[in-house]
Symmetry: C2
Subunit: 322 residues, 2 copies
Amino acid sequence: MGEFELIRRYFQHPLKPPGVALGNGDDCALLAPTPGMRLAVSTDMLVEGRHFLSTVSPEALGHKALAVNLSDLAAMGAQPLAFTLALSMPRVDERWLAGFSSGLLALADVHQCALVGGDTTAGPLNMCITVFGQVPEHLALRRDAAQVGDDIYVSGCVGDARLALEVVRGTQGVDAATWEAVRQRMERPTPRVALGLALRGVAHAAVDVSDGLLGDLQHILSASALGADLCDDLLMNSVAISPCLKSVKPEFVSNFAWAGGDDYELVFTAPPAARAAVAHAAVQSDTPVTRIGHTTAELGIRVRASDGQVWAGLPASFDHFV
Amino acid sequence: MGEFELIRRYFQHPLKPPGVALGNGDDCALLAPTPGMRLAVSTDMLVEGRHFLSTVSPEALGHKALAVNLSDLAAMGAQPLAFTLALSMPRVDERWLAGFSSGLLALADVHQCALVGGDTTAGPLNMCITVFGQVPEHLALRRDAAQVGDDIYVSGCVGDARLALEVVRGTQGVDAATWEAVRQRMERPTPRVALGLALRGVAHAAVDVSDGLLGDLQHILSASALGADLCDDLLMNSVAISPCLKSVKPEFVSNFAWAGGDDYELVFTAPPAARAAVAHAAVQSDTPVTRIGHTTAELGIRVRASDGQVWAGLPASFDHFV
């Protein structure tokens, strides 16, 4: 099977939302953002052995490859529009391609996000997705827009994907039901697109949690020239800690939640006056959110333990080159 | 050196053309196309050992990685605006990164095309670029817009990059000066952006030559439901055949020129009434163009040799999975 037949068989995508003037099949796709909108663009690359295990199902991989990119759109408050896929693989494996494309395009359909172009080539397994979304000019949830005294929130649950990774690494042991649940969280993250849209005009700043809650929050703080006071209890005693995560030793719960990585939740800031609006956005998007602290003029992150003491050090985020 | 320091050191790009509302550093870049314009989007992935040799200089590689993407914009008649880069590499090699980024950003500066985001990760050497350009709604040079009786043209020179590849493969031998010249053509292709812009409103359809002249022309013909009569002499006796290519045996000259691949020239169609306008576009963009035949209602490609006979078969294009 040649390159063009491969594309025709697995990556034809009939979805053509308004805004996609010309889909795939030409040198370029042509996008026509709605007047007054900004086009939000993000790229993520997934490498075998680094971002996913060779044992993961191709269908889950297709889901995750797009989900991590949609998560970036969510963190800007952008509505998904289209994406491109570049795929390098050792050989044409039809079973793999059928699973991968079904997981990929199913999530694309959920978010009405059209596959408009790409590239397929031979090489080590590697996939690169570039996603496009739309957001009104002045409503983008930028990192540099947090204000001093803002509440800091995190969506959904954090730490589960890291627990799954540690089970794979053999440093943690869990029962079968817990393993299945945390594996789902690692392999099939839910991009918080609906929450991002609901937070337009409510949140000041947002970022998605890929490397770890503290590390990604620091991106907001650095860009906004702020620090943060956080409270370990607020996170530990909230819905952000799943029953699965609670089943491991407390020191790991805290570490995985604050710095686990691969969560694809949103961490965002909003003024205290907007607490009701944040709660409304959470309900509207059917996504729980947890307040974990507030921003400060003093730089740096301070996490306060239940005894009132500030942690002496912070757990490190994931860095792809360390 | 961590991921963020790596980005700061090698991939900060001060260029911010109008249309780039927010550059890199956030979850997404924000692009604001000029009202009435379409955003043209294309993705290409380059894999070591497949699209480039491990012996190529990193500076040339940075150039080529962006050039092949700009070539897709050129083939749509689009003006470059911005691009994203996803880079996977085995380890942080500062000398390699310095060379790669200098070649990449130098070409970006020439075309006022801003690096607005990306991803860096550990893994086999692989680079994926997604490029964005602008083109007025009704002036995009689409593949499906060729008309019966259109002249068919190719820009610049074809076949040199294939000759270079065959020298590397050991099937061709050339003198040192020829090798240097064709190696440049293989490693540092010139995207025909200026020609693409000059052909807006002049050409009917265009495509860039990456897999081979005949194979890529076939994309126009298939999309436009047309065939073509081509003349070997028109190509062989033109500026499209470089003195370097003429130094090899005639059967190879013809094969490399018609089906060599990796040329990054434009093949396009225009009505006979537009010959003066095509000549003007060529002068305006300082890019030679050669007329090589015309489109026909009868499907298929027929190449006529100097003795008037139609070739019995066509040389095959490059397919990444064959």
